[in-house]
């Protein structure tokens, strides 16, 4: 499994997953291939974004990493351990934490800090250490001030940060986020993405972010584009968003600035061929001397 000197934190080999539809008598009606021969490898500390339109299999792929789904064919390795092997199950679920889409449906505790402690409680960690982990995790996502509150009193973005803290308290090597911002308002999305990026930068935790917001994907080291269960493209955000036409065929958007730059390039206004990912880069490539350049308009403008 070793590739070079580091073991891949996540590795799939010819992964196939089939949903079997049954009618009321239990006869097989049809088989849907949700994931089709996927081969990916993620190195420790990487920030991966998986994008694709609805039904492209991105969520199903994510559930394999946490051993919630098992491969129909092929295999998934998390830190070198096969997810199909029952004896590694809890170890894998601890190492690869998962954050889901709906913030209400994944908070178990009635108080924020109790929810963050839920994972460590399940792992059988001694009480004193649970408190240590809860304190650390809450401060890592900036939720310490709300620790005594009921989750029902938090905003969507805050709830998702609590969910992230809950996963963090299990000290995972990798966190998979399955469309964590899909149900949030713009400011909530911003909060969550900021917290996720901080975990990747500071704590060096591997991140797998599943999203359909392209402006969130630009922060990733690499993007996997999925279509009909297959990996259609992989590459850095700059490489991926360079292929505007191909993305359109997969019914995917590119960030607004990138699209604008692309159109300007087509009409000859922009000469350089580098892909633009932020407003600043656009201004640079336009080569217009502007009186004031706002510092705040960077990558974070949309997200």
């Amino acid at each position: 499994m070793a590739m070079g000197c580091v073991v891949d934190i996540i590795k799939t080999k010819d992964l196939v997953y089939e949903y079997i539809r049954r009618d009321e008598e239990g006869n097989v009606e049809g088989i849907t291939r949700a994931v089709d021969e996927v081969d990916v490898a993620v190195r420790p500390g990487e920030f991966i974004a998986i994008v694709g339109h609805n039904g492209s299999g991105k969520s199903t792929l994510a559930k394999h990493i946490n051993a919630i789904c098992y491969p129909t064919e092929g295999s998934v390795f998390v830190d070198g351990k096969d997810t199909a092997d029952e004896k590694h199950l809890w170890e894998i679920r601890r190492m690869a934490g998962m954050v889901f889409q709906n913030p209400d449906n994944q908070i178990i505790g009635q108080v924020v800090e109790e929810d963050v402690g839920f994972g460590p409680e399940n792992m059988g960690i001694p009480t004193a250490q649970i408190w240590e982990r809860v304190d650390e995790s809450l401060s890592a996502v900036g939720m310490t001030a709300h620790r005594k509150k009921s989750p029902n009193r938090l905003s969507g973005g805050q709830k998702q940060r609590v969910s992230i803290a809950g996963v963090l308290a299990m000290r995972p090597k990798c966190i998979i986020l399955d469309e964590p911002t899909a149900m949030l308002d713009p400011s909530g999305r911003k909060e969550v993405i900021r917290a996720v990026r901080a975990l990747n930068d500071v704590e060096k935790i591997t991140i797998v972010l599943i999203t359909h917001y392209m402006d969130e994907a630009i922060f990733a080291d690499r993007i996997f584009v999925m279509d009909k269960g297959r990996i259609a493209m992989t590459g850095t955000p700059r490489q991926i968003f360079h292929r505007v036409e191909e993305l359109k065929q997969l019914r995917l958007d590119v960030p607004y600035v990138t699209l604008l730059a692309h159109k300007l390039r087509k009409s000859g206004v922009i000469k350089s061929d580098t892909t633009v990912l932020s407003i600043e880069e656009l201004l640079d490539s336009l080569d217009i001397a502007l009186p004031v350049k706002h510092e705040s308009v960077g990558k974070s403008v949309n997200c």
Binding site: W90, G97, D104, N105, Q110, G124, T127
Partner: protein
Amino acid sequence: MLRNITLGQYYPVDSIIHRLDPRVKLVATLLFIISLFVGRYTGYIVATLFLLTVIKLSKVPLRFIVRGMKAIVFIMLFAVVFNLFLTPGEVAVSFWVLSITWEGIRLAAMLAIRLILLLMGSSVMTLTTTPGNLTDGLEKLMRPLRVIRIPVHEVAMMMSIALRFIPILMEETDKIMKAQIARGADFESGNLIKKAKSLVPLLVPLFISAFRRANDLAMAMEARCYQGGEHRTKMKPLIYRWQDGVAYLLVLAYFAACIVAGRLLF
């Protein structure tokens, strides 16, 4: 409507009663309820005094607890009226076909006092204990039942999840109701049967969504290594302190006093 019920609501202040171990409060409430049925008349005086002292110590305003009683006024009136008119015995007042007996008056008074004290007593418990603490306490107290294969941990977990989802599901009910009203549904007019029928289109989507939530939650719990009560540690374990011992003794003393007082005069 559900917002007016004090029973089962937590009143967040810091007091000796609030800090007591939930197990003490559960046992005390149980003993208090038993004492109401064992001790009589003078026993109720002791019970009332005891309850008022506890309320005073708990720093929950008496008015707040009394307001919670409003929800059961109707049930109480019902029970009192039935007892007044339907108890056979020596007739005290009689008019038309109805008659009130002395025994009826006695029974009705006893019932009213019992009901009031019982509800006030149990609401003191829920007002001073967080739902989380309460389920923890229940889980610990019921632990011996595991011997006869009752899944105590699982039941406690279900209770606490149910408590967490009550506000979420209420909000959802509200949303569905508004959506239906916006499309011309009528929840207000008509007789009881018609009203009940109009709830069906409300309950169906609510149930579907509750099942979906349950499914999501189960997956989230599994993803966070939940594997039942075995090998599980507690972030906030329940540990008795000396105050809890004192409280147990005081409650026992009350219980004895209540029974003795009930037998003394009659």
